[in-house]
């Protein structure tokens, strides 16, 4: 979960503006709690071990969440 939060933070630092992410519930909650995203930007996970992020210009990025 730490890795997923760090990844979203790093994506934002790379200059990407997040439209929404698709993540497991526990990761979504951590992202909201960390102030990185609003609850509206969090959608259900496609896969339990991956995070998908779609930017406001509709580019999709993904990463495997190391445990």
């Amino acid at each position: 979960m730490t890795a997923a939060v760090e990844w979203v933070q790093a994506m934002q630092a790379d200059g990407w503006t997040v439209d929404y992410v698709e993540v497991p519930d526990v990761v979504g909650a951590a992202l909201v709690e960390a102030g990185l995203l609003t609850p509206e930007q969090v959608r259900p996970a496609r896969e339990s071990d991956r995070i998908y992020l779609t930017t406001t210009d509709a580019v999709e990025w993904d990463a495997i969440i190391a445990q």
Partner: protein, 335 residues
């Protein structure tokens, strides 16, 4: 204790350098080093170390190298993939291993176990089937320079790539069948071939630290911040990836300190025990995984030195400095 898997020995490849500053030039230099027929002394590389290295190009531009160990070993078809592209999000973005993000012109490294035929380096499964680790940023893009020296060491089952930007600015990547587990449990503790697969990198924005032997969370460990040094392996027989790293560092660094030497003063070539990272930089205090194969810590040595018996290489030394002694590791050489 587990039955030992074969000891790894390394062929040192001849040095190469990128022909330009683009990421494809950097990848070509790695490919040229790995795929050359002869080693750094002009001797033919042995068949036991004959990987299949394939350069993957789009419109004649290299964006990946797939590296497959010798089939005779009977491994679970691991494929190490070294890849990158000038515009990383076009047309599709590669799957990274969090916390690292995909970035333009960065050299990435990942591993696809139980791989099939090549699909695309930025596909969800680059080798069509099996399980993919995702990519870590291997070394930083400042090394995409014609002055960079690429020095590769190839063992039967692993690849060590040393990227020398200047005497004391380097990036290192080590990937393949990295760990030997502590038991023969091929269900939970190792893959069915008794190995644990993964990679360890110095990272996308940082050089190997000068004091890596004595710095917690440094090379061969795991930093939780993106684009820095990381280590990860597959949970055996699953697609889950575990962050991990060495459990120990020395108290005062390399050099003439008792920790690195035996009673005769010789460097012992210390093993590194890996454990799972628990979410804090350098805290690899989770479940024990195994011992790092092929790479042994020594004290302070000039990089590029070797230990020979007559004309036979016994060990290769790798450190952060090519002109002065620095924190070093040793790789057993092919005899």
């Amino acid at each position: 204790m587990a039955f030992p898997v074969p000891a790894l020995t390394f062929v040192r490849c001849a040095d190469t350098s990128p022909s330009g500053t683009a990421i494809e030039n950097f990848l070509d230099a790695i490919y040229n080093a790995l795929s050359a027929a002869n080693d750094y002394r002009g001797t033919a590389k042995p068949a036991t170390h004959a990987w299949t290295f394939t350069r993957r190009q789009v419109l004649s531009v290299t964006n990946a190298i797939t590296c497959e160990p010798p089939a005779a070993l009977g491994l679970i078809s691991p494929v190490v993939i070294i890849a990158g592209r000038t515009l990383v999000g076009t047309p599709t973005s590669p799957t990274m291993l969090a916390p690292d993000t995909a970035f333009n012109s960065v050299c990435n490294i990942g591993i696809n176990k139980n791989g099939g035929v090549y699909n695309s380096w930025d596909a969800a499964l680059p080798m069509t089937s099996g399980q993919f680790s995702g990519y870590y940023r291997g070394v930083y893009s400042a090394l995409n320079a014609t002055a960079t020296i690429i020095r590769c060491f190839v063992s039967q089952e692993t690849l060590f790539i040393q990227c020398i930007g200047s005497a004391a600015v380097q990036g290192w990547m080590y990937a393949g069948a990295l760990l030997q587990s502590y038991t023969n449990d091929t269900s939970l503790c190792s893959e069915t071939d008794n190995r644990i697969y993964g990679m360890t990198v110095s990272g996308g924005t940082s050089s190997v630290p000068a004091t890596w032997l004595a710095t917690t969370g440094s090379m061969f460990s795991h930093t939780i911040t993106a684009s820095t040094n990381h280590s990860a392996v597959f949970q055996p027989n699953t697609s889950t990836v575990w962050a991990c790293g060495t459990r120990t560092v020395y108290s005062t660094g390399g050099g003439t300190i008792p920790e690195t030497q035996d009673s005769s003063g010789a460097y012992i070539g210390d093993i590194m025990d890996f454990g799972r990272n628990i979410g804090t930089t350098g805290a690899n205090t989770g479940t024990r995984l195994g011992t790092l194969r092929g790479v042994y810590r020594v004290g302070n040595v000039i990089s590029g030195r070797y230990l020979r018996s007559g004309a036979t290489d016994l060990y290769h030394y790798v450190s952060l400095d090519t002109s002065a002694v620095a924190n070093a590791l040793m790789l057993p050489a092919v005899s």
